[in-house]
Amino acid sequence: MAIPPDQLDEFIAAAARALEIPLDPEWKPAVKSNLDVTLKHAAVVAEFEMPDDAEPAPIFKA
């Protein structure tokens, strides 16, 4: 999943509202740049095919 940079502003505004994070307009360029980098990293991971039964790393022990 990668969001084109020109659509990130909309995503950031919606996410800030959903997360109740007050976002100063001055912070937006840096947040956008960081989110773009993080989503690109996430896309590198997400494109890697793994079997359905692949277990996530952390195991909760009751």
């Binding site: 999943m1 995503f11 950031i12 996410a15 800030a16 997360l19 109740e20 994070i21 007050p22 976002l23 100063d24 912070w27 840096a30 947040v31 956008k32 960081n34 989110l35 980098v37 993080t38 989503l39 990293h41 996430a42 590198v44 991971v45 997400a46 890697f48 793994m50 692949a54 277990e55 996530p56 790393a57 952390p58």
Partner: protein, 471 residues
């Protein structure tokens, strides 16, 4: 050996205090004097616990003739300021946490070091909330590299790197989520141990990323590193990730040498983007060890990407309430990364955790073919303080996020690593000695052998209190 001089090792100090050739109090006073003299230049300490240290040293001296004072008798040490120190707020490099009440108890790692006779002398500077590879801090000012005051210590355990490299203390503790012990070790030219995930308790330390957080020691000699590591081992019910595993001392096996060990050099990803000095360092270490086989760690770039995602999102979850209520009190560089992390869809984080298990299994297979993997610790020597970007593999990238290029794929699956300093001129640089989980003993043996050969060493900087701090 005058153990009051700044380059005395912890082992030398403990031997002198135990034999009565000097007192713990004399060693403590010498360390406090050196801190007073040089901390205005290095900015490594954010708090000096002088009275506590004198009381503790006096108690160790009072044991003389009654019972052994411990393997670290009278050894001064300091901790990154995310460790709880009774009576001080655990600031974790932040402005926000300064309003926290004083910690009621010490971190168990401080307790264990002091039970072995060591003397806590203070808390150390760090990047805010450990989300940093530079050692810069907007609230406390940057830690300064003892080898060149205009340069970074690396971070986030920047004060730990500066304090040990500058001879203020022989041992310091830090944390390493993505490289925060190994990066400052590399840039400051000292030894650092990031143990196996779950080896050392993280109880009563301020967290960052529960999936990836480790604590560990820094030192100027391998023996000191092993001594500190050994006394800190052991289970602790207060850290859910701490393994129920008996202590496995490394000090007794340090001198076993490298015969019979299969040592390989990480190729591919771990050579891409490296500056010539990083390649020179790894080649020197490989040659000293007779390591000729190159090994490919599969999907290392993806491991780094997954560590990046887990860090951003778990870090954001930890700080979400503070981002809502106190966003203006963060270091802006940390705040903006955390806000971005909060916005990453959770499905992508679960993918990263699934990949983590897949990658772990592939890398563990490599350890059926070799015992040790060598890799650079950082892509370059210490950048200038304030430097925002560097050229990496042909692309201009931020220093703050990318100094951990080679450390992140390793801590991502919790492998133990000793970072060893190669004393290149004009600046040192580190190499990672990586082993299978729970084999810190092998990594320390290799580091010790390299130290005995003279291939690695912590260089001693010339520091004088009159040195001008660059503007």
């Amino acid at each position: 050996m005058d153990v009051s001089q700044p380059w005395a090792t912890a082992a030398e100090i403990a031997a002198a205090v135990t034999s009565g050739r000097t007192s713990a109090l004399a060693v403590t006073e010498a360390a406090l004097a050196r801190i007073t003299e040089l901390n205005p230049t290095l900015n490594a300490f954010t708090a000096v616990t002088a009275q506590r240290a004198r009381t503790r040293a006096g108690a160790i001296d009072a044991l003389r003739g009654k019972r052994p004072p411990g393997p670290l008798a009278g050894v001064p040490f300091a901790v990154k300021n995310l460790f709880d120190i009774a009576g001080l707020a655990t600031v974790a490099g932040s402005k926000i946490n300064r309003a926290h009440p004083p910690a009621p108890k010490d971190s168990p790692l401080i307790e264990r070091l002091e039970a072995a006779g060591a003397v806590l002398v203070g808390a150390l500077n760090m990047g805010e909330y450990a989300y940093d590879f530079t050692g810069e801090n907007i609230h406390d000012g940057p830690s300064r590299n003892p080898h060149d005051l205009a340069r970074m210590t690396g971070g986030s355990s920047g004060g730990s790197g500066g304090a040990v490299a500058g001879g203020l203390v022989p041992i310091a503790l830090g944390s390493d989520t993505n490289g925060s012990i190994r990066v400052p070790s590399s840039l400051c030219g000292i030894f650092g141990l990031k143990p196996t995930y779950g080896r050392l308790t993280r109880a009563r330390s301020f967290p960052f990323v529960a999936s990836l957080d480790h604590l560990g020691p820094f030192a100027r000699s391998v023996r000191d590193l092993a001594l500190a590591y050994d006394v800190m081992q052991g289970p602790d019910a207060d850290d859910p990730a701490c393994a129920q595993r008996a202590t496995e001392p490394a000090t007794p096996v340090l001198e076993r040498g490298i015969e019979g060990l299969r040592i390989a050099v990480a190729g591919g990803y771990f050579r891409q983007g490296a500056f010539p000095e990083a390649l020179k360092a790894i080649d020197l270490v490989a040659k000293a060890l007779g390591a000729v086989e190159e090994i490919e760690i599969p999907q290392a770039h993806r491991a780094r990407a997954a560590a990046y995602v887990i860090t951003a999102t778990e870090g954001a979850a930890l700080h979400l309430d503070r981002l809502r209520k106190q966003a203006r009190d963060f270091d802006p560089a940390v705040r903006d990364r955390l806000i971005a992390g909060a916005m990453v869809p959770s499905t992508l984080v679960v993918k990263a955790q699934k990949f983590r298990r897949w990658y772990r299994e592939r890398v563990l297979e490599l350890f059926t073919r070799c015992d040790v993997i060598l890799a650079p610790a950082t892509p370059c020597t210490a950048p200038k303080i304030g430097q925002q970007n560097f050229m990496l593999g042909g692309a201009e990238l931020p220093v703050r996020a990318n100094m951990g290029l080679y450390t992140q794929p390793i801590s991502f699956i919790g492998l133990p690593v000793v970072a060893v300093p190669v004393p290149l001129q004009p600046l040192p640089i580190g190499v990672q000695i990586i082993t299978a989980p729970w084999r810190e003993d092998i990594a320390l043996r290799v580091a010790y052998a390299l130290e005995q050969m003279g291939a690695v060493a912590a260089p001693r900087p010339s520091l004088k209190p009159s040195l001008k701090v660059p503007a």
